[in-house]
């Protein structure tokens, strides 16, 4: 599960919190809100990239608030994918293995398997500059999954995609999340997208999060 427990964060006149909500284990949670309301800030707090002024964050029953970003068991897909621009798709997917000291040959089978799952095997030798928006998002997802996370955090992964690519990626996200049993927190400001994917829907407004009723 993903749990935010009374998170507060403040920068200048912008104030967030107290924020408390939970995405149950193995479920797909979506956080909606207007642009600039603090959704990305919450995602970064969860991933350990920002330190909250107060409050705790939990993953699968463990308080991860004091852990470094790399030790939280979170696969993070930021806006635009944020691929490593000087590395090929293969190198992006193998990045975690490289951190863990594995040689490229040793990580090749898992990279190929991941590429197959995401439909990007034909892109492995390309660099991010030569990928479409949808392809970049698939690679970003693959890079996050390569770390075998307990939870996925996706920050507007489907924005700026055409309708067909959007539909393909919605189907892919659903398939991946369900087959791997991951708890996911997906940030969006598109209600339709939320209805297509969410098990649980939340709204961030005026610095606080509340559950939203919706008809899937």
């Amino acid at each position: 599960m993903i749990l935010f427990d009374k998170i507060r964060w403040r920068a200048g006149i912008f104030e967030l919190g107290p924020v408390s909500f939970e995405v149950p284990f193995g479920k797909y949670g979506m956080l909606m809100g207007r642009t600039g309301c603090g959704k990305t800030t919450l995602a970064e707090i969860l991933c350990g990239l920002r330190v909250p002024d107060s409050g705790r964050v939990w993953i699968n029953g463990q308080d991860i608030s004091d852990r470094e970003p790399g030790k939280r068991g979170i696969g993070y897909v930021p806006q635009d994918g944020a691929l490593f621009p000087t590395m090929t798709v293969r190198e992006n997917l193998a990045f975690v293995s490289r951190i863990r000291g594995l040689k490229p040959a040793a990580s090749a089978p898992s990279v190929e398997r991941l590429a197959g799952l995401l439909g990007i095997s034909h892109l492995l030798d390309r660099k991010p500059a030569h990928l479409s928006g949808g392809e970049r998002q698939r690679v970003a997802l693959g890079r996050a999954l390569a770390a075998e996370p307990s939870a996925l955090v996706l920050d507007e992964p489907l924005s700026a995609l055409d309708e067909e690519t959007h539909a393909d990626l919605v189907a892919l996200l659903k398939k991946v999340q369900r087959s791997l049993g991951l708890t996911a927190l997906h940030i969006t400001h598109h209600r339709q997208e939320a209805c297509q994917l969410a098990d649980h829907l939340f709204l961030l407004a005026d610095g606080a999060v509340s559950p939203l009723e919706f008809a899937p």
Binding site: L49, G70, G75, A82, F84, V96, I99, R143
Partner: protein, 234 residues
């Protein structure tokens, strides 16, 4: 302006300049010192530019001002300041370890003070334009901050590194005031191309001064073109 200068010289003057032992030494010393300065400037500018771009710390504005001061000061003042600094107790201590004043190392120090300032500005601009998100993702994947910088951010900044090195190199080639005051203009010892122009002018040898000036223009143009081409491929 360049055309006018070129028309004042002849191929014969250029050849005579190239065959002169003193000028050959000056060319060699300019290449060695400018390249050393460019490399040193980049080593200093990359971490400084990164810190200025990505972090907040007390006194940051003051640090920025101090790093920009060599750019705005008159070059002779920079040389004078260096000379005075190396007369202080700390300066004398450094001087004992590595003789700098009126030596080749002094040429590099004089070039570095200004070259590094330009290199830092270039690197800061580079890091300002690079998205911090890839580095953040690297952290979530288990990278340390240093490794994320080395594996992700620095390769993305290599165009800027090339630019910083070429800016530092180009400024060093034209540096005159600080070198004259701090390292002197001793023939066959601390004489670099700008001081050659000055020395030739001071003895009334206008043709040689113009020839060396043209040499500097051609030389700088060739190196900058090569660096630009290399930078495009990077």
């Amino acid at each position: 302006m360049l055309a006018a200068t070129a028309s004042y010289s002849t191929p014969g003057h250029l050849l005579k300049a190239l065959l002169s032992r003193e000028i050959q030494h000056s060319v060699y010393l300019s290449i060695v010192t400018c390249t050393s300065t460019a490399l040193l400037s980049v080593v200093f500018a990359v971490p400084a530019g990164y810190l200025l771009s990505r972090t907040q710390f007390p006194g940051k504005t003051l640090v920025e001002v101090v790093l920009d001061v060599p750019i705005v000061l008159p070059p002779m003042v920079v040389g004078l300041a260096l000379l005075i600094f190396f007369q202080t107790p700390l300066g004398r201590m450094l001087e004992k370890a590595v003789p700098l004043t009126y030596t080749v190392y002094g040429v590099i120090v004089a070039q570095f003070v200004i070259g590094a300032a330009f290199a830092i500005r270039t690197m800061r601009g580079t890091f300002d334009h690079l998205s911090p998100r890839p580095e953040a993702v690297a952290l979530t994947l288990g990278c340390s901050r240093a490794r994320a910088f080395w594996w992700v951010t620095l390769p993305s900044a290599r165009g800027g590194v090339f630019a910083a090195a070429s800016v530092a190199w180009a400024h060093s080639l034209g540096e005159f005031g600080p070198i004259l005051v701090f390292a002197g203009a001793t023939r066959m010892k601390t004489e670099v191309l700008p001081t050659t122009v000055w020395l030739e002018l001071s003895v009334g040898n206008l043709e040689a001064a113009v020839a060396v000036s043209l040499l500097m223009v051609l030389f700088a143009g060739a190196v900058l073109l090569a660096v630009r081409k290399a930078g495009e491929r990077v």
